[in-house]
Amino acid sequence: MHSTRLLAATSSVLIAASFAFADTAAAQSASESDFSKRLDQLASELAKVKAELAQLQQQQRTAAAAAPAPGTATAAAAAAPAPAPAVPVSTALGSGLLNGPATVLTSYGEINYNRPTNDSKNTVADMRRFVLGYQHRFDEKTKVVTELEVEHAVSSSSDRGEVEVEQAYLERQVARQYAVRAGLFLMPSGLLNENHEPTAFYGVERNFVETAIIPSTWREGGIQIVGTYDNGVTAQAGITTGFDLNKWDATSTEGAQSPLGSIHQELQLANARDLSVFGALNWRGVPGLLLGGSIFTGGATHGQSANSSHVTLWDVHVRYQPGRWDFSGVYARGTISNTPAFNAPLVGSTTLIPKSFDGWYTQAAYKLWSNDQYSLAPFVRWEQFNTARSFADLGAGLTPDAARTERVATIGANFNIGSGIVVKADLQRFRQNPDANRFDLGLGWSF
């Protein structure tokens, strides 16, 4: 990191010097050819410095990125939990700022095809996500990162798509190791939430532990401090909005599919009387290894009820990438407190509020084949999750039974094209719900 800054400083000095020299040369009577020769020399030295800078940054990203096919600087830097002030590299001289364009467009998209093997009449093809974002760098220390998402291609009052702001935060580097983020940002939880581009995970669909338990794409509004240390530790802590238990709809099945997904607020006129706090630690001290965990807790009733309740979600995760292998695992568990008080008026309804819900998965991928343009990585994943692991007692005959734990086995492959395009295929088998067994195909990009 230190050497990167040195290189950045050096290149800016060189550019400044070249302009200063140009001014001085114009005032003096040096021959024009001499002057232009020197300019050429300076330009080539500058290009060399920039190349070294790019190389150093690339090395940094390879160590830090969670992407199997590392995207370009900007996309990875935006999503990575270790936010070095990413200087977008550009070979264009004098395009306004010293270090390349100040405003960068980002995007990712997923087109998915799901074919239930026992129930083919429910085969669906969907433009699952189309995301456009931008990052704008105000100065060396400050940037804004935004992402706008369209789900299911068409959004209107009579269509089923949605348009949403997925991220919109400002980040300022306040010290060498610390940055402050404020706005609507992704929560550092699990492996997928912050790095959820289609090129960042194996399989066509995001795994269930990180969609049903950790409600990806989970974002809250608030402020956080990110600390990045030389020993490979990244620490994050912050205060944000939280969930709203008053939104629980006992007559629908949404709460059974994802308890927190059914009560998230997405900073949409969010009830914010009760704020939540979170912390996350990630260690990348050993090359190829990421070990980390997070915890989030906060009130979820916002004074709208005589009773109060807290939602807590924590996770531990690991990712190990020795050589061609890519192993990962996540365990996540959520709890909601004081549920009997909130379930009492809902007794008998379809979906009561669970006391706890959790899940884990392990995944192994292997880069079977690659050349400079393509790579093929088959993978297998085993996951178990339960969106209603337990219910608090409401009395005999009234307390719902715990849900059955779903077990999903996934086998498939990611085929990466260039840097930033992926074609995926997989087969998924569900132990509790064989009607959901499916064959999936996916096409995605990210830049």
Binding site: S158, D244, N246, K247, D249, A250, T251, S252, E254, S262, Q304, S305, A306, N307, A341, A344, P345, L346, V347, G348, S349, T350, G395, G397, L398
Partner: protein, 395 residues
Amino acid sequence: MAQRRWRLASAMGSAALLAACGGGGTATPAAAPPSAALSAAAALGEKIFRDASLSASGRQSCASCHDPAFGHSPPNALAAQFGGPNLDLQGTRKAPGIRYLAANGPFFFAADGAPTGGFFWDGRARNFAEQATEPFINPFEMANADKAAVVAKIAAASYAADFRTLYGNDVFADVDGAYLRISLAVQQYEREDVDFNAYSSKYDAFLRGAASLSAAETRGLALYNSPTKGNCAGCHPSARGADGSAPLFTDFTYDNLGVPRNPELTRNADPAYFDLGLCQRADFANRGDLCGAFKVPTLRNVALRQAYFHNGRFKTLKDALGFYVQRDTNPAKWYPLDGSGTVVKFDDLPPEYRVNVNTTEVPYNRRLGGVPALSDAEIDDVITFLKTLNDGYAP
């Protein structure tokens, strides 16, 4: 996120759409709470509401059939109240309760085609004011000859001076204008008086955390909510809204239950006469799929009412709930037999409209001879719970 329940599509298409009920049904959070002191218009409206001299008989006011002591429902078990100049002409339908209608608006068809909203059993009035204009001149109710007769009575009432103060000295010169203002004053009273939206039941206290339900009441609530047992919450939602608003125990839609014909209504002596509900409205004369549908009322204060459904066919909650769960398993208990001894199910509808009756939603989806969705003891528990919906709870 759609809150409506999934509707089963039948081969008859929209007929089944009509038969199903949807979600919704909580108090409008933006509605201001009624103030303790009534405005001038509302105070006038209250006087008009209670003034029996405004009827041809001189003995019937709005409050006679919408009695505050009975949840603004009738104070007796008659299938239809008697009105007319001598209070001897039977009305056509049971007088509806008029509480908890603040969130009710004009009639419309929802996005999925479900008829929703409106005042009266067939939703023909758009608001309280429009509803108030009809009883005054209905020959079977307050039976005034015309609007002018009503206006003349107000002009001679003890509060005529208040009327002039509020609406101008020459208000009585224009009959239509004065009649409109009479209905607006009554509407203002119904909107402002806290008795119409008290939320003072034991269940409201329970939702606020100020009371707890007994074991029987809790069992009853569970059966009420369960989509496989009573499923009452399907059309009469019991849950608070996402914004914390109190449940209104109706989703303001319509349903066709095939309630048995009531011989107590003298009109029904003519076998060719049928009360067809929604499709009896002039604007829905060609909507055969709406025939037999009537508005879903609130269940708040249901235990204060003494006759149930649009034709007042049942007089006790036990009978009403028994009908719900045994209609299809034991129709002979609820419907008459024809000459050859066959049960005439849905006898209060002409044969061509009996297909409109809701037979897909729990609990009316059982088969002949099957087990009813609720046992006798379970019905009693539900009734015990329904009693918690009466206003005026004091611990």
